[in-house]
């Protein structure tokens, strides 16, 4: 493996790791279920993608490369499906999202706002 691929691979792995940490920090900092879901989706998409891309560059055979690619495809397909199911279930079971009120402070609104 060439030296360029090694450096690129490690750059991708480290960046992906940092994004994972960012997702976790967001999970802790954000105030409610719905906003936390957005933080988690950073870990779901770009962080996973970068780590898998970094690993693909180090793949010893085509079979391993293909398997890593399949993992990426399945994660990207199932992530939004699970996210949608979670958000819909939460909304239908009556969990109100925090929305900015008149004073700009976040509060649990009873009716979803119609527009921006």
């Amino acid at each position: 493996m060439s030296i360029v691929a090694t450096y690129l691979s490690w750059a991708l792995l480290v960046l992906g790791g940092l994004l994972c940490i960012s997702g976790s920090v967001g999970l802790l900092r954000f105030p409610d279920f719905y906003t936390r879901m957005h933080a988690a989706s950073v870990t779901d998409t770009l962080a996973t993608g970068m780590i898998l891309a970094g690993l693909m560059l180090q793949a010893p055979t085509w079979i391993v490369l293909g398997k890593l690619f399949m993992i990426l495809v399945f994660v990207l397909l199932t992530g939004p499906t699970a996210g949608h199911a979670l958000a819909k279930a939460a909304l239908h079971s009556g969990l109100k999202p925090l929305l900015p009120g008149k004073s700009g402070v976040l509060e649990a609104d009873n009716k979803p706002s119609g527009g921006v």
Partner: protein
């Protein structure tokens, strides 16, 4: 034989080859047998159609994926920026956005693309509208601008 059956067969063979990686005669025989069995069962279940094998998308989907990847990176940077901001001033929003008629497949692609990009998640899809929860209300305006919808509409043709 339908073209969808052929494409499912090719897909299954590729999937098997990638997972197995062993090309001994016994493995090959077992692989062929399982692929044929799956094809037989699927055709008896009548699940091989243009919904499970949307071949008409093949021409336009690579361009859409590239565009979606770009959007994915941009919105990731935006959300990570929000996460590390020292004073957290969130402006989340929940809005129902009207859309013109899309095919069933178009609606699935549209809603999933919105959920996939960080910062927005689809909570409800109806015949002519989608409900979206966004981390920042600027994302709602972006969806309302209809660029993604137009790109999904182009896939249908």
């Amino acid at each position: 034989m339908k073209i969808q059956t052929l494409s499912l067969g090719v897909l299954l063979v590729a999937f098997w080859a990638l997972n197995s990686g062993l090309f001994k005669p016994l493995m090959f025989g077992l692989g062929t047998a399982s692929v044929l069995l799956v094809l037989l069962i699927s055709s008896r279940m009548k699940v091989i159609d243009s919904e499970s094998q949307p071949l008409y998308l093949t021409k336009n989907i690579p361009g859409y994926y590239l565009w979606l990847l770009k959007e994915l990176v941009i919105s990731n940077i935006k959300v990570v920026g929000t996460i590390w901001r020292s004073n957290l001033q969130l402006q989340p929003a929940l809005a129902t956005i009207k859309m013109d008629h899309l095919s069933e497949m178009g609606k699935v692609i549209y809603a999933n693309s919105i959920s996939l990009t960080p910062g927005t998640v689809t909570t409800e899809v109806t015949e002519n509208s989608i409900t979206v929860h966004a981390l920042d209300k600027s994302s709602i305006a972006e969806i309302k601008s209809g660029e993604m919808e137009a790109r999904v509409r182009k896939l249908d043709k």
